[in-house]
Symmetry: C3
Subunit: 466 residues, 3 copies
């Protein structure tokens, strides 16, 4: 099912170049500097329960597409907030998924799944209603063996290092357990403080109180609150953390005086918070995080631009993260200027920018990253982490920012078996892109080999200081 030339250009000469480039990088270890796998998996190393709970139920790429074609989330076993009845038989969920596998034609989800089925489970035909049970049985049997426990899969996938994403209030007990277990797999946390940075985050004030408890700092004051962040960041660093991550609605940054910032903080932790104050506070906090990055060396990742939980009905019945996050227009040029005015020329600062608005690749992000030493471009993100999206990213950024202001690949996934597939897609697309430049004599092949290695391995490691 997996053709050795998949994703390579059609033209035979270009395809040959792409093949040669890919040969040099296909077996490199995986650097996964940003993602959402659960550290508990590696800590406890328990088997995954069944095919549906491994592949279908936790993957919003899958259930959003099925839902879009009229399949109720209840039938896919997604738990309702009210505890109402949902399908609990994993085999029935699997059959429904299999019968609708055609919906994923030409999507990345299909490619990741085919890759996992074949390389992990030896399943080489196309999933459909007819072979659904056989797929289920093969996968289910495999999952019950030691070779498919999380650590064994981690090693088989050749993951050199993986970062999870962890809330500021997380005690990192799973990370501690991994460390203390003596297992050699390198799993590090990333500092994601949205719940204590975004006044519109659910439970913000309770989160601030918890931050005080967990950090021992007095979060009733602006200075205490900042000290708590510093404390947590230092704590995360003891587990190998090298980056923070921020998922804001916009890329706005702020440049308030300490007095104004303290006053704003006092407002957001007490009275009802206006939308303007919430935005101003998030903006100021990006600048504060940049300041702390300069101090402690964590790389600052900014992931802006998603309208979260757009579907009110689904939000009410099923809660957050149900595939209803929709990108919006996002501006960076004015948004980042306050932060850059303050820290933009500091050689210690490292910021990685992401976007869900492809119009900014050529207009804003490549010109910014092609100038500011502190700015680099994260790879094509989320909806765009797919062959066409990756190609557009390179097409729209390379002429202005080059390759060396980008940071290699992030798989950004909570779908564990998709990790090798995702890195393989990125390597293939980058090799195809490089081959297209070689065949047009815009790049020499020896340079392309070096770049293929850099994009597959070196840049991620260096940009994330791993």
């Amino acid at each position: 099912m997996l053709h050795p030339d998949r994703l390579f250009p059609a033209d035979p000469t270009t395809r040959d170049i792409a093949r040669r480039l890919y040969t040099g990088v296909k077996d490199l270890p995986i650097i996964s500097p940003h993602g959402h796998t659960d550290p508990r998996w590696y800590a406890e190393n328990e088997p995954f329960a069944n095919p549906a709970s491994l592949f279908v139920i936790p993957d919003h790429y899958i259930f959003r597409m099925l839902y879009s074609q009229g399949i109720a989330l209840e039938k896919l076993g997604i738990p309702r907030l009210d505890g109402g009845p949902v399908e609990t038989d994993p085999r029935k969920i699997w059959r429904l998924f299999a019968a609708n596998y055609h919906l994923f034609r030409a999507t990345p989800t299909r490619m990741w799944l085919d890759h996992a089925f074949e390389t992990l489970f030896g399943l080489t035909d196309r999933l459909n209603a007819g072979n659904a049970d056989r797929f289920y049985d093969v996968i289910d049997a495999a999952l019950k063996t030691d070779a498919f426990r999380p650590r064994a899969m981690f090693e088989r996938m050749k993951i050199e290092v993986i970062s999870t994403t962890d809330g500021a209030l997380d005690d990192l007990k799973w990370h501690r357990m991994i460390r203390e277990s003596g297992w050699k797999g390198r799993v590090v946390p990333a500092y994601r403080p949205d719940a204590v940075v975004d006044p519109e985050f659910k439970g913000f004030r309770e989160n601030i109180a918890a931050l005080a408890r967990i950090s021992g700092c007095d979060t009733d004051t602006w200075d205490g609150y900042l000290a708590a962040h510093r404390q947590r960041r230092a704590y995360f660093k003891t587990f190998g953390c090298t980056s923070s991550d921020h998922g804001h609605p916009t890329a706005a940054t702020g440049i308030l005086s300490p007095e104004d910032a303290a006053a704003l903080y006092a407002r957001v932790i007490t009275g009802p918070v206006s939308a303007a104050d919430a935005e101003a506070f998030r903006a100021q906090m990006l600048t504060e995080m940049a300041r702390m990055s300069i101090e402690d060396g964590l790389v600052l990742q900014i992931h802006p631009g998603s309208f979260r939980n757009h579907n009110a009905g689904i939000m009410e019945s099923f809660g957050r993260d149900m595939g209803a996050d929709i990108p919006q227009r996002t501006d960076y040029v004015k948004a980042l200027k306050p932060l850059l005015d303050q820290f933009g020329t500091d050689p210690r600062l490292a910021i990685i920018l992401f976007t869900l608005d492809e119009t900014v690749y050529s207009r804003e992000l490549a010109p910014l990253a092609g100038h500011y030493p502190c700015l680099k471009l994260g790879p094509a993100w989320w909806f765009f982490d797919a062959p066409d999206g990756m190609w557009r990213f390179r097409d729209l950024t390379t002429e202005t920012a080059g390759f060396y202001n980008t940071v290699g690949f992030n798989d950004d996934t909570r779908a564990f078996p998709s990790i090798p597939a995702r890195h393989d897609v990125a390597r293939r697309v980058d090799c195809a892109f490089l081959a297209s430049r070689v065949v047009a004599h815009r790049l020499d092949e020896d340079e392309a080999h070096e770049l293929a290695y850099d994009l597959a391995y070196r840049l991620a490691k260096e940009a994330y200081r791993l």
Copy 2:
């Protein structure tokens, strides 16, 4: 002139796949679920007058390009509002058009015209000043024969069903005449109520009064006004109507309480209307139309984003629809949320979204359609209904929304002889796109054959409930 491989990829392997896919769909009947042909043609079945009045004078794609290069509209026979002199000799108009045929190089207009010249009239050389008279004579002679009357052409074009677009105040007499004639051609209306929904539409209040007369409802009240819409929709349905269509400046939708909506309605039908009230009323009416769609099953089409009649001088001299409609930035994520909050999870609702702002394909429309069951994406529209535009549509939507959240092709034309050409272009481009995915092993060829059929025929029929 028409090469059998036109629009297929250059790479020989990919081209072969595209050819095979196209062979399976090229002769399928035409489903034309959205367009602007005149029902009177089919009702009266009178011959078209002459080549200029068939091809040039009614086609704003043609005269906007000629005008852009300094050719006065008067010389093309476009009537002036003041009745001032314009060219009336169709042969002179034709010669001017022919002498400037090079302006259309690599545009879709050129492709549609070449297709019509060759397939309908057997003219196989390229139009130019030298052969203009011969083209004129051949076409003119053909138009005088029964084989070129509208119904005969309709049948020769293998149109299985075509929808016209009809104002809410239209008595549908031509549709009635078609039904009563016993002719088997299937021509259905679509409900386009802009003139009684948009307070900034010319003659809005007179239109509302006419709506009262034609519906028998009391349009002085909000409830009566809504009842009038229900009445007209039901009337349209008796002629086979399956969809409504809405051409608003933005995609804004509203979610007013019945009281606030009634108060807003009272304002827009009495005093001078503010721009804000006009926008709020159009927005609320999209939501009302969605509510009625749930009740009566009409599919809701939204065509937003055009700045109409941008050229003030042309508007003054020649009036509306003179090729001066210019797209604008259009946002959907916040705009559609009020409607979706109210009806977004109702399984009976079907909305087809169009855009003139290609930046929203990947950022907003594909994520929305890849989630909401009620939303599907209309094909590349208007300026983008052309090979490059169609390709970008697929490139930018498929990875997120797949193929099955799209609805096949609309020709959307008032240029009758261009209908087969337009569907042929769409089929060729879709086959080329599918072939590019097959050759990169992202899709199997058997799947591509099924998809080619779906995109050319099945999806349009199902999405429009035809």
Copy 3:
């Protein structure tokens, strides 16, 4: 190093067509209707000083990329405003540049440099740390010969005509010196009045005073100020000027009454200027410039959308034009309407529109240029003046605006040795684009040959009235 097929499509059939098209245009003289070379070069005809001052120090494309990777501008010899120490040894600067040549992989800068090294200096290997000194020595020796003085290079490059860009206050003494020298090279100025049109331009009021002195007009009044512009434009025309050029933050145009315009002018030349007044004044001045263009025949170029000098730290240490200009979202549809309402149908008016926001190509600019006779599209600009950017320009504009509403190529450069390289890239990309349309049977090859000539030579000459 320079492969004869560079930038041509990979598919052999398409490549053959591209080669044939290119053969017909590669040796055409260069029309350079918009650029930033220094007229003093041609006037004095002094040798260029050394490789670093010819290639590195004045080229913000080069030093912005080096800076983005952490190389201090001081090390590249960029002078500081405070006169602080910077590198002064051109050989050391050259070595630093050479050691980082890999940063430019797949960027246009790399392509332009390789072209200049090989065609002007016979250097056929790839620049790197190892051959840096040899490159330096070869170039330095050549620059000391008469064959590398500006006029000799101008002639060798086959420049038929070049336009410089000159401030409204410029006395054009170098242009005068060129004329009086008897040299046959055709060098003309362009009228760029930003310094006396933009109230936010540094020294605006002093500039207005200087305008009074140089024009002899009373710039204390609105009428006198407009008369001064007319006087300067007429003066520029005596040196062959055929165009004006305007670099505004937005594309806004105005339509004030003479009284309101006079009042606005009085405000901007006296009290502190609000941002709104500054924008309104720039907007009004674009309309005034259009009025003058109708009178005197200068072609009006609009270059909007750059956030100038975005990096506050660099602005403070090094001043303007240090590679920190970042594009922003730019709207044209509403922005241009006031000007177009007043002059949009005047057959004497010629406006050339540029953009740094590629989203407007298909949404706004192609529809506008495909309708208004006074509007044409300038080529892909600045960051987009590169193979991928040029391809996107054609891909996104041709179906709506055709080729004949575009104006051929601008090199827009201050990097003298890059001029032939830039025109060569444009010719190759256009031939590649045309070939892709020929191979898909969207265009006949004889038409493509004519178009290749038009795009390489004729359209620029005609659009700029040269």
